[in-house]
C-alpha cells in the first residue's frame, strides 16, 4: 500500500485531483450537518447576488444556492458511484464470461454488447429516462445501461489474454472449477484496468446525470447540479451565478476524478512504472 502511494504521489496532478475530490466528498458528507433541511426550502428574497447575506446567493425562488450545491454534491456522487458500480459489475460479468469461454458464448455476448454500443449513449439515456419516467432509480438504471459495454469489452480483452497464460493452464490441469479460475486466478490479475476505467466511468456518469437534469429529466424531488444549471439557464443574463456556481462544481469534480483516474493508471500499470 505504501509502495502504491509512492507511485501515485509521483503524479502531482493526481495528488491535486485527490485533494479536490476529498473536498467534494467532505462537502457531501458534512453537508447535512449544516443543511439538514430540504435544498428546495425557500429561505429569502429571490435573486440575491453571491457574497451577500447568503454566501452563494439565492435563486429565482429564493432558495439558498449553497444548500443546493451541498445537496447536489450528494446526488451527483451517489448517482455516479451507484451507476458505475452497477455498470462495472454487469460489464465484468459479461466481458469475463465472453473472454473466458470464447466460442458461441463470446459471439452472443459480444453481439449484444455491440448492439448497445451502436446507440449514441446520451440519446439512449434520454429515451430510457423518458420511458421509465424521471426518478433517481431510473436515472441510475439509464446511466448503467449506457455505460457497461465499454467495461465488458475491456474485461473480455484482458480475460482472453490471461486465458492462455501458464498459471491459468496450470489451474485447469489441477482440475480447478471454472468459477474458481475466473474469480481467484484471472479477475485479480485484471483488477487494475478495471479500477482505472471504473474511476473514469464515475466522471462520465456524473456528466450524464447533469445533462439529464439539465434537460429536465432528473428526479424533480432531488436537488442536483444539472438541475440547478437547467433552472438557471433562462435567467443567465440577469443572474449569472445560478449557472456558473454549479457549473464550476461539475467542472472541478469531473476534473478531480479524471486526474485521480490518471494517477491510478500510472500507479497500477506495471509497464509505466519506470517512466
Amino acid at each position: 500500500m505504501i509502495a502504491f502511494w509512492h507511485l501515485f504521489r509521483r503524479n502531482r496532478a493526481a495528488v491535486f485531483g485527490l485533494a479536490l475530490l476529498g473536498l467534494v466528498l467532505l462537502l457531501a458528507a458534512a453537508g447535512p450537518l449544516f443543511y439538514p433541511e430540504s435544498a428546495f426550502k425557500l429561505v429569502d428574497k429571490p435573486f440575491q447576488a453571491p457574497f451577500g447575506h447568503w454566501l452563494l446567493g439565492t435563486d429565482m425562488l429564493g432558495r439558498d444556492v449553497l444548500a443546493g450545491l451541498v445537496h447536489g454534491a450528494r446526488t451527483s456522487l451517489l448517482i455516479g458511484l451507484v451507476a458505475t458500480f452497477v455498470a462495472a459489475t454487469f460489464g465484468v460479468v459479461m466481458g469475463g464470461l465472453a473472454g473466458y469461454y470464447g466460442g458461441w458464448i463470446d459471439d452472443l455476448l459480444m453481439r449484444t454488447t455491440e448492439l448497445f454500443q451502436t446507440i449514441p449513449s446520451f440519446i439512449f439515456a434520454i429515451v430510457l429516462v423518458a420511458v421509465l419516467s424521471p426518478s433517481i432509480e431510473s436515472v441510475v438504471i439509464a446511466i448503467a445501461v449506457v455505460s457497461w459495454p465499454a467495461m465488458a469489452r475491456l474485461v473480455r480483452g484482458e480475460f482472453m489474454a490471461l486465458r492462455g497464460r501458464e498459471f491459468v493452464q496450470a489451474s485447469v490441469a489441477q482440475g480447478m472449477s471454472d468459477a474458481k479460475i475466473i474469480l481467484v486466478q484471472i479477475l485479480p490479475n485484471c483488477l487494475s484496468p478495471i479500477i482505472v476505467t471504473g474511476s473514469l466511468m464515475v466522471a462520465t456518469a456524473i456528466l450524464i446525470e447533469s445533462g439529464l437534469s439539465f434537460l429536465g429529466l432528473g428526479d424533480p424531488n432531488v436537488m442536483s447540479w444539472g438541475f440547478m444549471i437547467g433552472a438557471g439557464r433562462g435567467v443567465l443574463r440577469s443572474a449569472w451565478w445560478l449557472c456558473a456556481i454549479p457549473g464550476l462544481a461539475i467542472l472541478l469534480t469531473v476534473l478531480a476524478i479524471n486526474l485521480v483516474g490518471e494517477g491510478l493508471n500510472d500507479a497500477l500499470n506495471p509497464r509505466l512504472r519506470e517512466r
Binding site: 430540504s38 428546495f40 426550502k41 425557500l42 429571490p46 429565482m60 425562488l61 429564493g62 423518458a130 419516467s133 424521471p134 429536465g216 424533480p220 424531488n221 433552472a231 433562462g234 435567467v235 443567465l236 443574463r237 440577469s238
Partner: protein, 528 residues
C-alpha cells in the same frame, strides 16, 4: 330591425372615427415571431395558438370585436337577432372576393358553419350546438336557425374562432386532409405566399381587399425561432417587430422594456381570459373532502407565484370566471377570500378539522403533484407548491411526465391527486367555463374537460339555465350564484388570472385596436 339599424349606424360611426387618423402610413414589412411553428394553417380544424396567429390574417370571420369585446362588422355588415332568440340574420359585405378571385357568398358561410365548424372544429361543436340550420335567402343574406336561444354565438364569430372558408375549394373533398391546410385561401387582408418550413410564413398585401385603403402593410412575415434567447435578441435588434404569448420570455421583459424602441402590452387577450388553476381529483381521498381542498387554497400564496414565477404578470383569481367579464356583468368578486392574512393558520385548522392531524414527522398525509409538462414555469410552480404545502403538513412528491402521459393520467385514468393547468374562459362562459364544471363533461378520454370529476346538481342546473337565458340581468344572477358555490367547493384551486405579454417595436401602430390582439387580421396595423 331596430338592432340592424343600430349596428349599421355603429359601423358608420366607426368608419368615420377611423378617418381623422389618416396619418396611417402605407407600406412596410411587419415581422412577427410566432411560437412554436404551427403544424398547419388549418385554423378551421385547430384552435392551437400559433395556427390562429398566422391564419387570422388570411381567413376572416363574420364579426370582429373592439377592445370592449362588443361585436363590430366583419364579413357581415349588419346582424339582427330575432326577439325569441331562435334565429340570427346576417347581411354580408358587398364585393368581397376570395384570394383566388371567386366571389364570397352566403353559400360559403352556410358550408363553413354546417360542414366545417360544427362538425370538425374542436370548439365548434359546443359553440354551434344549438345551430339547427342555415338559410340563405339570397347571396348576401345568412339566417342562423337555432333550436334554443344561444346568445353567446355572437361572441364566437371572429376570424380566429370561426374562420370562413371557401366552399368551392373544400366541397366534395375530405376537409381534414384538404391541401388548403398548408396554403390557405381566404378573404382576409393578407394573401398566403409561401412557407419555408422551420423558418417563416410570408403573407403579402391583398390588393383587392374589400375594406378600401386597407391593409396598410405590404407584407407580414411570421418567423419561427426556437431558442428563447435568440427571440429576445432579435427583438432587441429590431429584426422582429412583434411577438405575443410570451414569445419573449417573461424573465427578459423587465430588461427589454427599458429599451427606447421596445414596448410591452398585456392588451389583446381579453377574449381568451386564461386562468391558472390546480385541477384536483375530487373523487379520491384526501381531496374528496371540501375542507382539505379549501386548506390547499388557503395555503398557497398567489402573489408569490405572480411575482417570482411569472415575473409580475397576472393577478390573483377568485373563482372560475375571469374578472375580464366584469364589463359583461358576469363576474362575481364577492366570494370566499383565500388571500387573507392568516391564511396559513386557517389552512392548518381546516386540515385538523378534516381529520388529518400532523404525525410525528410533522406531516399529515402524502400526495403527488403532477406538474403541467409545458416548461420551466410549471416546474418552478411545482417546487413552490411542494414547499408551501409542506408548511401546512402536506408531504408533496413532484412528478413531471411527457404531454401524452400527463393527458392520459388526468383525463383518462384519473390517476392523480393534484395537477397544475390553465384554461381559457374564451369569449363567453358557455364556451370556456361550462366544460370544466358541468357533470355531463366528465368524459373519460376527452382532454381539457371536467377532469376533477366535480358533480353538483345545483351547479348543473345553473349552467343549463345560463346557456339559454337571454335576459342579461338574470344571466348575471345565475353566474354570480355559480361562482359563489364554486369558491366554497373548490373542485379546482383558483390561482391566478394569467396575463400574457406582447412585446413589440414602437414602430408598430394600431395592433391593439381589436379585442383579439394577435388573433386579429392586422388590416389596420401600420408601421411608422
Amino acid at each position: 330591425m331596430k338592432r340592424l339599424v343600430r349596428a349599421a349606424a355603429g359601423a358608420l360611426i366607426l368608419a368615420m372615427a377611423a378617418l381623422p387618423a389618416a396619418a396611417q402610413k402605407k407600406g412596410g414589412t411587419l415581422v412577427m415571431v410566432v411560437l412554436p411553428e404551427p403544424p398547419t394553417l388549418a385554423s378551421y380544424l385547430s384552435t392551437s395558438g400559433p395556427v390562429g396567429q398566422v391564419a387570422a390574417k388570411v381567413y376572416e370571420g363574420l364579426l370582429e370585436y373592439g377592445p370592449d369585446q362588443k361585436p363590430k362588422p366583419g364579413l357581415a355588415k349588419s346582424w339582427e337577432a330575432a326577439a325569441d332568440g331562435r334565429s340570427i340574420t346576417f347581411k354580408l359585405q358587398d364585393g368581397v372576393t376570395w384570394h383566388d378571385g371567386k366571389p364570397f357568398t352566403s353559400a360559403d358561410v352556410k358550408f363553413t358553419l354546417m360542414e366545417v365548424l360544427k362538425k370538425l372544429h374542436p370548439r365548434g361543436g359546443t359553440t354551434f350546438q344549438a345551430l339547427a340550420e342555415v338559410e340563405t335567402p339570397d347571396a348576401s343574406t345568412v339566417v342562423m336557425k337555432l333550436d334554443k336561444p344561444a346568445p353567446y354565438i355572437l361572441s364566437a364569430l371572429s376570424g380566429y374562432e370561426s374562420p370562413m372558408v371557401p366552399k368551392h375549394l373544400f366541397e366534395g373533398s375530405d376537409i381534414r386532409s384538404n391541401p388548403n391546410a398548408n396554403k390557405p385561401v381566404g378573404t382576409g387582408p393578407f394573401k398566403f405566399v409561401s412557407w419555408e418550413r422551420g423558418q417563416y410564413v410570408r403573407l403579402d398585401r391583398n390588393p383587392t381587399y374589400w375594406r378600401k385603403g386597407q391593409p396598410y402593410l405590404d407584407r407580414i412575415v411570421a418567423r419561427f425561432i426556437a431558442d428563447p434567447g435568440t427571440r429576445t435578441a432579435a427583438m432587441e435588434k429590431g429584426e422582429v417587430h412583434y411577438g405575443a404569448f410570451g414569445a419573449v420570455p417573461y424573465v427578459d421583459i423587465p430588461r427589454i422594456r427599458t429599451l427606447p424602441h421596445i414596448d410591452v402590452s398585456t392588451d389583446g387577450y381579453g377574449m381568451i381570459s386564461s386562468l391558472m388553476q390546480l385541477e384536483i381529483n375530487t373523487a379520491k381521498p384526501p381531496f374528496d373532502k371540501v375542507k382539505v381542498r379549501q386548506a390547499v387554497s388557503y395555503a398557497l400564496d398567489r402573489k408569490f407565484m405572480i411575482d417570482n414565477i411569472w415575473f409580475g404578470f397576472g393577478k390573483p383569481s377568485t373563482g372560475p370566471i375571469s374578472s375580464n367579464f366584469q364589463a359583461a356583468g358576469l363576474y362575481e368578486g364577492k366570494v370566499r377570500d383565500y388571500t387573507v392574512k392568516d391564511a396559513v393558520e386557517i389552512a392548518n385548522k381546516l386540515l385538523d378539522e378534516a381529520g388529518y392531524p400532523r404525525g410525528a414527522d410533522g406531516m399529515r398525509f402524502k400526495i403527488v403533484h403532477d406538474m403541467l409538462p409545458y416548461g420551466d414555469e410549471w416546474r418552478r410552480l411545482g417546487e413552490y407548491i411542494k414547499q408551501a404545502l409542506g408548511n401546512v403538513g402536506i408531504d408533496v412528491t413532484l412528478r413531471y411526465e411527457d404531454v401524452p402521459t400527463w393527458l392520459k393520467r388526468i383525463f383518462t385514468d384519473y390517476d392523480y391527486n393534484i395537477t397544475s393547468t390553465f384554461y381559457y374562459n374564451l369569449a363567453d362562459p358557455v364556451m370556456g367555463v361550462h366544460r370544466q364544471y358541468h357533470s355531463s363533461m366528465i368524459r373519460k378520454g376527452t382532454v381539457f374537460v371536467n377532469g376533477s370529476r366535480y358533480s353538483n346538481p345545483a351547479v348543473d342546473k345553473l349552467l343549463d339555465e345560463a346557456t339559454v337565458e337571454t335576459d342579461p340581468a338574470k344571466r348575471a344572477q345565475q353566474y354570480s350564484q355559480f361562482q359563489k358555490i364554486l369558491a366554497e367547493d373548490v373542485p379546482l384551486i383558483f390561482m391566478t388570472e394569467m396575463q400574457f405579454a406582447t412585446v413589440f417595436n414602437k414602430k408598430v401602430k394600431g395592433a391593439f385596436d381589436d379585442a383579439l390582439g394577435v388573433y386579429s387580421s392586422f388590416a389596420g396595423v401600420w408601421m411608422e
